[in-house]
Amino acid sequence: MMPYFKFDYFGFDFSLVVAFIVGIGFGFALERGGFGNARILAAQFYFYNMRVLKVMFSAIVTAMLGLFYFAWIGWLDLSLVYIGDTYIVPQIIGGLILGIGFVIGGYCPGTSLVSASTGRTDGIVFVLGIFAGIFVFGELFPLIEGFYNSTNLGRVTLPEFLGISHGMVVFLVVLMALGAFAAAGWGEKVLAKKNGRGVE
C-alpha cells in the first residue's frame, strides 16, 4: 500500500534521501519551465506570457488525476496523504499578501531558489528577503497568533465542502484547466499582435 513512508517501508533517514531526489526533480522542472527567470514569472501578471498558469495547472491536473486513479485502483490510501488544515481567512489574506510580494519581487519561494542557484543576483536577494520576512513574522507572531489560528475549518477538501462527488470535482478542475489553457493561448496571441512582443 502507498504511501510507502506511512507504511514504514523505510525509515526517517532514508526519507531525507527521498526528499533530496524529489527536490532535484522539482528544481529541474521549475528551471525547465523558465521559472528561474523573474521576467517570465512577472509576465504572467501582465498577460503576455501565461507560463505560470500553464505549468501550475497542468501539474495540478496531472497529480490530481494520479491521486484519484491510484486511490481508485486501491494502491493508495488517500486518507494517509497529508492535507493541511484550512484556516480560511488567514489563508486568503496571506494569499493576497503573497501575490503582492510575487509581483514586486518577481519570484515565489521555490522559484527564487532555482533562480539563485542559476546565478541570478535578484534571486539571491529575494531569498534573503524571505529570510527577513519570516524573521519579522516570527517576531510579530505573539501579536497575530490569535488571527493566525482563527477560522480553522479542519481538513476540508473541495468535494466535502461543495457536497459533490470527488470525481465530479476532478472533472470540473480538468475542464477549468483546459478552459484556462485555451484562454491563455488566445490571450497571448492577441497581446503579441497588439504589442509586437514575442510570446517568449
Partner: protein
C-alpha cells in the same frame, strides 16, 4: 487513428488524455468507498492462534511507566464510561465510531473495552479495513482492575508469590490502585487509606493529545 495522433502536438495529446481521465473520474465518482473487502481469513486465524496480537496488562503497565508511546491506546467504551475512568494516555473511540475516527492505518493501535468482546470485534473491523497493526489488551479493563489496580494476595501464598506481589504493589500504587491482602476470606488493604469499597483512582488532568497522534513536527510547508 495513427494519422490523427501524429497531427496532435504533445500538449494536445496531454489535454485529450486529461479530459478523458476527468470524464471517467466523473463516472467513477468516489475513488474509495468500497467497504466490502476481501479478508485473508487464514492469516487472521494464524495471528489469533499465536496470540501475537494480544498485549497483557502487565506489559501495558510497564510501557506506561516507561513512557513508551509508539502506540495509540484506544478505549472502545462509551464516552460516559470513559469519563468515569480510563487507563492513562488512552483515546476514547466508542466502537461504533471506529471507522470514522482519526486513527491511521499505519499506527500501532491497542484496543480495550470492559472485556474482550468489543475489542475483538473492533480488531476484526480494523484488520479487514487494512489497518496494519492492531492489538488487543488481554482481558480488557476488567483485567486491568484485577491485576493492576486492585491486585490481591492470599495469606497463605508462597514467598515467591509474595515477592512478585511487592513488584505489582509498586506498579499498582503508581496508577493510584489499592493492593490488598486477603486473610481468611476478608480482605484488607495494605495501604493506609483502606476502604471497603474499592475507589477508582481519580483521573489526572487530561494530557495533550494521546498516543503520538500529534506530537511529531508538522508536515506542511
Amino acid at each position: 487513428m495513427k494519422e490523427l495522433l501524429k497531427k496532435l502536438s504533445a500538449a494536445q495529446k496531454l489535454a485529450a488524455a486529461a479530459f478523458l481521465l476527468g470524464l471517467l473520474a466523473l463516472i467513477i465518482g468516489t475513488p474509495s468507498n468500497n467497504h466490502s473487502v476481501n479478508v485473508n481469513a487464514k492469516e487472521m486465524l494464524l495471528s489469533t492462534i499465536k496470540t501475537q496480537d494480544r498485549v497483557d496488562v502487565m506489559t501495558l503497565a510497564d510501557w506506561l511507566i516507561k513512557e513508551k508511546l509508539d502506540y495509540t491506546l484506544v478505549d472502545l467504551r462509551s464516552e460516559k464510561e470513559f469519563a468515569a475512568y480510563n487507563i492513562p494516555s488512552s483515546l476514547n473511540v466508542p466502537v461504533e465510531n471506529i471507522l470514522t475516527s482519526d486513527l491511521r492505518r499505519n499506527q500501532k493501535i491497542l484496543l480495550y473495552g470492559n472485556d474482550d468482546v468489543a475489542s475483538a470485534q473492533a480488531w476484526f473491523i480494523l484488520k479487514s479495513s487494512n489497518y496494519k497493526s492492531v492489538y488487543i489488551l488481554d482481558g480488557g479493563l476488567n483485567a486491568w482492575k484485577d491485576k493492576i489496580l486492585f491486585p490481591k494476595l492470599a495469606d497463605n501464598s508462597t514467598d515467591e508469590e509474595k515477592s512478585t506481589f511487592e513488584k505489582v504493589k509498586q506498579i499498582s500504587l503508581h496508577f493510584g490502585g489499592t493492593p490488598q491482602l486477603i486473610s481468611g476470606g476478608t480482605s484488607s488493604a495494605v495501604t493506609p487509606q483502606s476502604a471497603q469499597v474499592q475507589p477508582m483512582p481519580k483521573l489526572s488532568a487530561p494530557k495533550s493529545p494521546a498516543g503520538g497522534v500529534a506530537k511529531k513536527k508538522k508536515e506542511g510547508c
